[in-house]
Subunit: 445 residues, 3 copies
C-alpha cells in the first residue's frame, strides 16, 4: 500500500529512473572528459618494443576476476540470508556493486568492496535509492581518505585492513547510527531465515572463502610477497574456520552449531591477516591471527552487537563491526608488530621493497648499495621501524575518524525526503520493492 504523502512513498517509479538518468548523464560526461586509455590499453602507445604478453592485464586480471566473483556472487549469496528478503539482498547487492564499479573506475577501484561491507550494516532497512546514494558518497569520501593517508602518512596495508575494512566498517556504523530505528530493537517478524536462504548464504561464504587469498594478494608486490599473501590468507582463514565451529558449539545451550556463525565468523581470519599478509610473519603467526580474529568476531556478535544496538543506537544488521571492525583492529595491530619486528636479517635487502618507506631517500649512499642488490628499488623516506609504526597508528585513527564522520553525514543525507526509506513495518520484506512470485508468502511461511 502506498502512502499518499509522496515524500514517504516507497515507489521507485520516479525516483530510481531519475536518479539513474542523472547519474548516467554525469557519468558519461565524466567518462568522456576524464577517462582515457592508459598506456596498457591505448593502441597508439604500442610499438615494436611492446611485448603484448607484458600488458598489465595479464598480471592483474586473474585476481580482479576472482574479486568480482567475491563481490557479485559471494556477497550476493551471503546477503540473501533473510527468509523474505532474498531478492533484495542479492539484487540490491548487484545494483550497488554495479553502480560502484562505474564510480570506482572514475575514482578508485578498491572502493567497491567497502561499499558492500557498509551495506551490511543497513541491509533490510534501506531502499535501493538510499544504497545508491550511499555508494555515491562513500566512494569519494573513501578516496579522499585513502589519498590523504597514502600521501601524508604513507602506510603498509596490503590486505586493506585499515583502508578497506576499518573504513567500510566505521562508515557503515556512522550511517546506521543516524538511521536508528528504535522500534526494530525488539526484533521484526520478518527478520528471520529459512532453510534454503541459509544454504544460499553458506554458498556465499564458500565463494568468499575460496577467493579471499586473491583479494588479499591483489595489491601486493609480485613474486614472493604475493606468494606469502596467498599462503597466510589460507592459513588464517582455516584456523579461523575451525575456531568458529568450536565456539559455535560451546556457546550453544544444546551443543549444536548455529548457521549464522558458520556464515560469518569463519571468515574473520581473512581480515585479520590482512595488514601483515605480505610480511614475513611466519605461518604460525598467521594461524594465531586467524584464531584471535575469529574469537574477537564471535564474542563481538554475541555481546557487542546487542550492546551497540540497545545502548548506543547502532543497529549493525550483519555485524560488520565484528567481521570487519574488530578484526581490522587486530589486523592493524599485528601489522604494526610485524613492522616493528622486521629486520634485514629476516627479509634480506627486499625489506626495503616491502616496507618501501623505510628505504633510504634519494641520493643516500645506502640506496645505491641496495639498488645493486635490487635493481629498480625506489628511494623511500628513510623511516625507522618505530617511525613507520607510529604512522600506521596515525592512519588507523585518521581512517576511523574520517569514515565515522563521513558515515554520519551520509546518514543525514539518507534521511532526506524522497529517499523511499521503508517504514519500520516494511523492513526485511521483498514485497516492498519487488513483484514477488505467488509462493512468496505461502510456501516459505
Amino acid at each position: 500500500m502506498l502512502c499518499i504523502n509522496t515524500n514517504m512513498s516507497t515507489s521507485l517509479r520516479v525516483r530510481l529512473p531519475v536518479f539513474v538518468l542523472v547519474m548516467e548523464i554525469v557519468m558519461v560526461t565524466l567518462f568522456a572528459f576524464f577517462v582515457t586509455y592508459d598506456e596498457n590499453a591505448n593502441a597508439k602507445f604500442q610499438n615494436n618494443e611492446t611485448n603484448p604478453m607484458e600488458n598489465s592485464m595479464y598480471r592483474d586480471y586473474p585476481y580482479f576476476a576472482d574479486v568480482q566473483v567475491m563481490i557479485f556472487v559471494g556477497f550476493g549469496c551471503l546477503l540473501a540470508f533473510f527468509r523474505f528478503y532474498g531478492f533484495s539482498g542479492m539484487v540490491f547487492n548487484f545494483l550497488t556493486a554495479t553502480f560502484s564499479i562505474q564510480w570506482a573506475i572514475l575514482i578508485q577501484e578498491f572502493a567497491r568492496a567497502g561499499v558492500l561491507i557498509s551495506f551490511g550494516a543497513v541491509i533490510g532497512k534501506t531502499s535501493p535509492i538510499q544504497l545508491l546514494v550511499m555508494a555515491l558518497l562513500e566512494i569519494p569520501i573513501f578516496s579522499v581518505t585513502e589519498w590523504a593517508v597514502l600521501k601524508y602518512l604513507r602506510i603498509n596495508d596490503a590486505g586493506g585492513s585499515i583502508l578497506i575494512h576499518l573504513f567500510a566498517c566505521y562508515f557503515g556504523l556512522g550511517v546506521t547510527f543516524v538511521l536508528y530505528r528504535p522500534n526494530l530493537n525488539s526484533g521484526h517478524a520478518k527478520e528471520t531465515t529459512c532453510y534454503q536462504s541459509d544454504i544460499l548464504c553458506v554458498l556465499g561464504t564458500l565463494f568468499l572463502w575460496v577467493f579471499w587469498p586473491s583479494f588479499n594478494s591483489a595489491l601486493t608486490l609480485k613474486g614472493d610477497d604475493q606468494h606469502r599473501a596467498v599462503l597466510h590468507t589460507f592459513i588464517g582463514l582455516s584456523s579461523s574456520t575451525i575456531t568458529a565451529f568450536a565456539l559455535s558449539a560451546v556457546f550453544n545451550k544444546r551443543g549444536k552449531l548455529t548457521m549464522a556463525d558458520i556464515q560469518n565468523v569463519t571468515l574473520a581470519g581473512g581480515v585479520t591477516v590482512g595488514a601483515s599478509v605480505d610480511m614475513m610473519i611466519s605461518p604460525a603467526a598467521a594461524y594465531g591471527l586467524g584464531i584471535m580474529g575469529c574469537t574477537a568476531c564471535f564474542f563481538g556478535y554475541r555481546y557487542l552487537t546487542p550492546f551497540l544496538a540497545q545502548r548506543m543506537r547502532i543497529q549493525d544488521q550483519c555485524g560488520i563491526h565484528n567481521l570487519h571492525g574488530l578484526t581490522g583492529l587486530i589486523s592493524s595491530t599485528a601489522g604494526i608488530c610485524a613492522i616493528l619486528l622486521a629486520t634485514e636479517e629476516t627479509y634480506g635487502p627486499s625489506m626495503y621493497q616491502i616496507f618501501s618507506h623505510r628505504a633510504p631517500p634519494e641520493g643516500h649512499e645506502k640506496l645505491l648499495e641496495l639498488q645493486k642488490l635490487i635493481p629498480g628499488l625506489k628511494p623511500g623516506l628513510g623511516r625507522t621501524a618505530e617511525e613507520q609504526a607510529l604512522y600506521q597508528v596515525a592512519a588507523i585513527f585518521a581512517t576511523i575518524g574520517a569514515s565515522a564522520v563521513g558515515g554520519l553525514l551520509t546518514g543525514l543525507v539518507l534521511k532526506l525526503p524522497f529517499m523511499a526509506s521503508p517504514s519500520d513495518d516494511d523492513c526485511f520484506d521483498d514485497e516492498l520493492f519487488f513483484d514477488t512470485p505467488s509462493d512468496f508468502d505461502s510456501s516459505v511461511t
Copy 2:
C-alpha cells in the same frame, strides 16, 4: 502416462540411448580419423627450443575456463527459472552443452555458446532429443556460415556480435517459428516462476555478468586489444545494468522491480559492446552502448516479444531476440561506425593489426614501412574503412539470412516423428522427462 502411439510417446527409453549410441560411434570414428594433437599438444613436436610456458594453453585456458563457467553454471542457473522446469532447464543445458563440446571440438569451438542461446527460444517446449538434434545441425550450419563470412567477407567481430549472437538468435527464431504452438499463446498454467527459481536465475545472471569480459576478450589480439575488450565490457555491462533497474521501475505500475528484467535485461550491454569491443571507441562510447542496448532489449521484451508471438508465429520463450538480436544489431552498427571512424591518428600503426584487412597487401611498399614499426604485421587486403564497413553490412545480412534459413530447416527436422516432442499440456513440466522428488508438486505449489 505413455501414449500408445509410439510416434507421439515422450519416453526417452529407446530414443535417447539410440541417438547417443549412434552419435558416439560417429564421434569416436571422427575423432579417431580427424582429431589429432596440434603442435601445442603433441609430445613429438617438443624439442630443445620449446619453452613449455609458451604453450598456447597458458594463453587461452584461463579465458576458456571462465567461458565454461558461463556456459555450464551461468546458463544452467539462468535457464532454471521456471517453477516446474528447473531440472529440465539446468540439466538439458548440461546435456546440450556437453554434446556441443564434442561436436565443437571437431568443428568450431565457439559454436557452443550459440546453441545454448538458441535453446532459449524453445525452452519448455522441446524434448532433449530435439535439443540434441538442434545442436547437431546448428553447429555445422554455424561453421559453414562462419567459414564463408570469414573467408569471403573478412570482417571484424571480436565479441561475436554478428557470428555468435545474431546467428544464434535468428537460428533460434527460425526453429521456434516452425515449432509454433498456437495453444500456448494464451499462456500455460506452469509457465511461472517461484521464489527459489528466481533467485537461482539471478545467480546465473551474476555468473554471466562476472565472466562476460572473459568471453568478449577471448578472441581478441593479445595485449592492449584484450585490455580494452575487458574494460569496455565492464563499462557496457554496468551502464546497461543500472539502466535496466531504472526501466524496470518506471514501467511497473506500482514502481516495483520485476525479476525478469534483472535476470535478462541487465546483460544486454555485454552483447552491445561486442562488435567494437577491442577498438578505440572510448569508454564513454562503451557506456552509451550499454544504455542503448539495454533500452532496446527492455522495450523488445515489453512490446516486440508479444507482437512476434501473437502476430508472427514466433514464440521466443526467453526473449533471445531482445537480448541477442536487437543488441547484436546495435552492436554491429556500432562496430561499423567504429570502423568508419578509425584513423591512424587514434590507433597508431597498430590500426593495421586490429583492422587486419585494411593492412596493405603483400609486396606493397607501405607494408614494409609498417612492418618496421610492428614486426610480424601480416599483409592484408588494403581495404579502405568504407570498404570494410560495406563488408560488415554484407556479413550482417548474410549471417541473418543463413541462420534464419538454417533455423527453419532445423525446425522442420525437429517436427519429424520420434523426436519425443512434448504435448502442449506437458510443456514447462519436469515430470515429463524426470523422476521428480515427492515435494515437486506440493511444496512448490
Copy 3:
C-alpha cells in the same frame, strides 16, 4: 533429545571445542617448528637475479584456485543432496576441507580431495567429530602410502587415479565397513531428496565438471603435457556425460531421467582418463575411456552398491566405489596400456620426460644424447615399458591394500566412545547437529 549417558550423547558442546583446541595447539606448534617459507615465499632468498613473475605461484595458483572451487563449492553443493541433511552435507564438507588444509599444508597437499571422497561413503551417518578424526588419520596414512609408492615403486599417475581415487575409495569403504548399521539397510525415512536439494546438487556437479580439467592437469609437467591433460579430461567428461543420460533413460521403467545419475555418473569420465591423462593416448581413446568409465559407474550404482550393502556389510552412501573405485581401476588399467604402447616414435625424446623412470640412468651414454635434445632431462631408472607396467600393477595393489587396512583401523577409532556418533534414528537429519530454522520440517515435508 540428549541421552543421559554422555558416551552416547551427540552434543558437540564439549567434544568439538576440545578437539579443535587440542588440534590448534598441536598445529600451531608444528607450524612453528616445521613450516618455513620455501625459496618462492621467502623474502630473504630474493635477489637481483630473481624474476618475480617466475615465482612458482604464477604457475600453480590458477589451478590451485580452481581445485579450491571444486572442493569447497563443488563438493559442498554435491553433498547437500539430502532433503533434511543439506546443512550437514555442505557445512561438514566445509569443516572437513578446512581442517584438512591445515593438516595437508603440513604433510601433503593433494590429500585433501581424498578425505572428501571418503566422506561420501559415510555421509549422513557420522558426526563432525568422526569426520575430523577421519581426516586426521587419513591424511598421514595417505601420505605414508604415497611416499612409499612414489619412492619404492615410482609410478606415473598424473590425474591421481591410483593415489587419490583408489586410495580414497578403499579407505572410505574400510571405514564404512566398520561403521556398518544393519538397521539402515532397509532405508531411512529421511534418506530422501527434495526439488531444491536436487538442483543444488546438480550445481555442485557442474562446478566439478567445469574445473575437473584443472584438477587432472594440476600435477602434470608444464607445456604440451598439461595441454593434453586438459583436452583429454574434457573429452572423457563429455563422452561420459552423454552416456550417463542414455543409460539413465534406458534403465528407467518409464524412460525418464534419474537425477542421481546426472549428479554422479556424468562425472565418471573425469576419473577414468586420470592415469593416462598426460600421455599420447589419442582423443578417441579418451572418448572411449569416458564411455567405459561411465558404464562401469552406472552399473555399479545399480547392482554393486546394493550388493555390497546387503551382503558385504559395506554401506557406501554416495557410491564412491562406483565413481572413484571402478573408474579408478579402469583408469589405472588404461594407464598401464598407455605405458606399454608408448614409443619414441609417438612421443619423440620427450617420452623420457613423461615416463621419467624410463629415462636412462645417470652416466648412461643415451642420457647425454637425450639431454642434447631436451636440456634438463633428469636421469631415470632405465626401466622398460614392461617393467614400468609391473610397477604400476604393484602400486595398484599396494594402494588398495594400504587404504583398506587404514580405513578399517580408522573405522575402529571412530567407534570409540565420545565420538558423538548419531543413533540410527538420527541419521540423515540436520536437527541433530544444527539449530534449524522454523521451516525445516514444515515447508520441506
